[in-house]
Amino acid sequence: MRLRRSKGGRGKLEFADAGVNGEPLLVVEDLHTSFRTGRGTVHAVDGVSLTVGRGQTLGIVGESGSGKTVLARSIMGLLPAQDVIKSGTVHFAGHELTAMTPEELRQVWGAELSMIFQDPMTALNPVKRIGRQITETLRLHLNMDRSEADATAVELLRSVGIPSPEVRVRWYPFQLSGGMRQRVMIAIALACAPRLVMADEPTTGLDVTVQAQILDLLRELQRERHMAVILVTHDLGVVATRADDIVVMYAGRIVEQAPAHTLFNDTHMPYTRALMDSIPRLADPSGMRLHAIAGRPPDLIHPPKGCRFSPRCPYVRDKCRESEPPLRTAGSRDHLFACWFPLVNGVPTAPSGRVEARPAPVSPAPRPVPDSFADAVPPDRAPPGDAAVNPEAGVQSP
């Protein structure tokens, strides 16, 4: 049992030890988050359900504006109270976060559930020494005294690969490089050995060469400490080899959800496919145009009727514009997708009148990202118009 906060015993929360009852660590059910704005209500998260097992990694992927950051903060309960409408439940380690008082949430934050922010320059307090920014959590949640906390901070900095940590603890964030600052951020997030870490675009602000180092460090520490990680990113390439499960979000909703290898091997949702195509490949000839997804994410105040991706979907049909596809399963129970005409082997299950609108991929080479799955990706991605596949083939109606 990890019992770790005293504060006079008032409203003390106890957490069951890992894996006692075999329940997932985090269960999110039908989470909705909307913001009241001058223009209307923005439905940033619209009915999201997901689970994360102990020690597992969940990748949440989507474009900017798809609601992934709001989802991460909604799960934590970190959004401001003003002008936010929330519904749905979040269960974490046997406690319902959505039913907690702010006091109780504060006992969970930083101790059992912590967050790594995107930009380590703005997320670290510029006028506080980094050591102090680590020790304040240690002292709050673990009731350490000053010298004990100082010593632990040095060890934490060492564990995230910061050289001469006993000197660096006295430094200010502006004296460190971007990669070092993100290491400090990880040290802060992991200080109290949380069960779950939310990493919101943890490497977006960093140099590409540093990105991999930080992600590898995070994975290493995750294995060492057996903690779960939610990795929020716009880059499918980042989560491809690092996540157990992947959730693809579009316009506040989950559009496809599957174990990582299933998602890459057997993509059903055209949006997911488009995200994969937008990853530049080393095999591409130099000077080739990047595959951008045409159009922009929809207005979340007035989301489009029918499938929210329909205005940008290369395979759109009338049905897509009229009614919204539910999140359903196909062959395997753990692969969910929201599409009326899902792709099968990279090919839509029904011909579409707008096929020409989509630039055909120049290179039919397999996806480079998940090496182990590469051979499972169909090498011949025939032009979608040629596919004479039964619309419902391989798909079970919900």
């Binding site: 934590m76 970190l78 703005t122 304040e136």
Partner: protein, 314 residues
């Protein structure tokens, strides 16, 4: 840090030098011949030459300046034409009064403005914030000469809590000294509260939007801890700069309040000296006020380094 402060200190010395030259020239730029005034009916060319020699006024200007400056460093700023009182003595009695008024009024101003801003900035444009913001706007609109009579009418004449006028030196009776200084300080403090509150509130509101505040919340820290330990310090730049200017303006700038409460501070002496063309008194007070202003700015520059380490190392 040391390098930054050294640079600021050199600036302080240079500015003080310029101030001393200007204060010195102040008397020379004025029209009129001092020998004519002193000699009166005995104003013959011969007497005049002797007097010029005695007074050293026939020496080159730079030489007169160095002689004057040496005297200043020895604490001799000359004496009043009117009553032969030494300027140093006028400063020695007036300056502590200004200092006391400033200290009491500023302590009250910070003690009110800082907690108020910390409370209201968390929920901007909510009822509490609106009341405080409107209230301070009113304080800003009320000049000391309106507030002072109201304070006197209510707390001195009406309730008899404080004396209406008069000054008791601190060395004579500390308790009644402070007792007598409360109303004048309150008359000055209203404007300062309004300025400090507004500067700090707007900086706090923008600081609270920063990622590091969300980060601090995600660590489970309490709102109180976040406000004081994370948000306050990075939000004090405008407050410090504003306080520097404001306090500087209060040195010898509290004439109206001193007049209303019959306290002979520097401001009172300065205005009286100007009216009576008592130039050496004007010169002495101007010099001290200007130097005090520069010293305050130096101190504010030092506080910037305490508030934000990036000032000296970035």
């Amino acid at each position: 840090m040391a390098k930054y402060l050294l640079r600021r200190f050199i600036q302080l010395v240079v500015v003080s030098f310029i101030i001393s030259v200007l204060a010195f020239l102040l008397v020379h730029l004025l029209p009129g011949d001092p020998t004519a005034v002193i000699l009166g009916p005995n104003d013959t060319p011969q007497n005049k030459a002797i007097l010029l020699h005695q007074l050293g006024l026939n020496k080159p200007l730079w030489n007169q300046y160095t002689i004057w400056l040496t005297a200043v460093f020895h604490g001799n700023l000359g004496q009043s034409y009117l009553n032969r009182e030494s300027v140093t003595h006028i400063l020695a009695t007036g300056f502590p009064i200004d200092l006391e008024l400033i200290i009491i009024s500023q302590v009250i101003a910070f003690a009110v403005a800082i907690p108020l801003a910390l409370v209201t900035s968390r929920r901007p444009n909510r009822p509490v914030d609106n009341v405080a913001t409107t209230g301070t706007f009113g304080m800003l609109a009320l000049p000391p000469f309106v507030i002072a009579p109201i304070l006197v009418a209510v707390f001195a004449v009406g309730l008899h809590w404080f004396p209406a006028t008069g000054y008791v030196p601190f060395s004579q009776n500390p308790a009644s000294n402070i007792h007598g200084m409360i109303l004048p300080s309150l008359a000055i403090t209203a404007g300062s509260i309004a300025v400090y509150y507004r500067l700090l509130r707007s900086d706090l509101i923008s600081t609270l939007q920063e990622d590091f505040i969300t980060m601090a919340r995600s660590k489970g820290l309490s709102s109180r801890f976040i406000m004081w330990r994370h948000a306050f310090r990075p939000s004090t730049f405008s407050l410090l700069a504003g306080a520097g200017v404001n306090i500087g303006a209060l040195i010898a700038g509290t004439f109206i309040v001193e007049y209303l409460f019959a306290i002979n501070g520097l401001g009172y002496s300065l205005v009286a000296a100007v009216n009576q063309r008592d130039y050496l008194v004007v010169q002495g007070i101007s010099l001290v006020v200007a130097i005090a202003y520069v010293v305050i700015q130096f101190f504010i520059d030092f506080l910037f380094t305490v508030v934000d380490p990036r000032v000296t190392r970035g």
